[in-house]
């Protein structure tokens, strides 16, 4: 996955997780409370909402000119992003994957289809 420069993002903000939850009307405590994340067996750090990760991955393919031409996204959420994580996204044509910066296993993969610009 190397046909474009790697898109980097981070550190993931725990405070922003609450803002994402407000936008999503999502009360899942694993995004808001370290104790809840730990109680759910996810470790001692808050878990980033999935759509927040997908937004970062989208940004790896959006260049300002093509944003309005995005027509389809199909995403699979494979792992959790935690507060403090540094992320990198790599694209390969119409596909892209999101990784924790020092790991090889993707946390999120997606395919993208663009149409004609409006």
């Amino acid at each position: 996955m190397t046909d474009a420069p790697t898109f980097r993002f981070g550190p993931v903000s725990g405070a922003d997780m609450a803002r994402w939850c407000a936008l999503l009307n999502d009360d899942n405590e694993i995004h808001l409370s370290r104790d809840a994340a730990e109680a759910a067996g996810l470790g001692p750090l808050r878990i980033n909402p999935g759509p927040a990760n997908l937004a970062v991955l989208m940004n790896a393919l959006l260049d300002g000119e093509n944003e309005g031409a995005l027509r389809e996204v199909e995403a699979r959420f494979l792992g959790n992003v935690r507060e403090g994580d540094h992320l990198c996204a790599r694209r390969d044509g119409g596909s892209a994957a999101l990784y924790r910066a020092d790991e090889e296993a993707p946390l999120l993969t997606a395919t993208f289809r663009f149409g004609d610009q409006e």
């Binding site: 999502d26 009360d27 759509p51 959006l62 389809e72 996204v73 199909e74 995403a75």
Partner: protein
Amino acid sequence: MPAPAAHPPIPQSRYRLTRQADDAVRRMSGALARQGAGAHPIFAFLGALGGLPQPIKELSESLGLDFAAGPVLAGCRITLHAPLQIDRDYTVEAKVAGLERRPSRAYGAADHLHLAVALTEGGTPASEIALHIVFPAPEAQ
């Protein structure tokens, strides 16, 4: 265990896509600055979930799902018929497209919820999302 067949309809609702929300999303995700009135495409997701008439927790529990067990977003498919725009009101039409319990290597058993949510404007489709959310079902282990 949730009932396998017909689910109560989800009332139609409205979602206001504000420039403030778009500004926040762009800042929080490292996106480029907005050009014109075009909202970030992740609003197909945010408008779908954030625009439901009730929080996803309440909707899930109304279906008999154990939200406290820690649901996991497994996947989604987004279709954008046209770019979403800031300072617009969208109609939110949601339905339960599927709900089934399956064996799970991770949890022993899990309930798979499939939600379909469309945003329309003046009757014209703007975006659609198919969401797949997995709920651990520990009582079935």
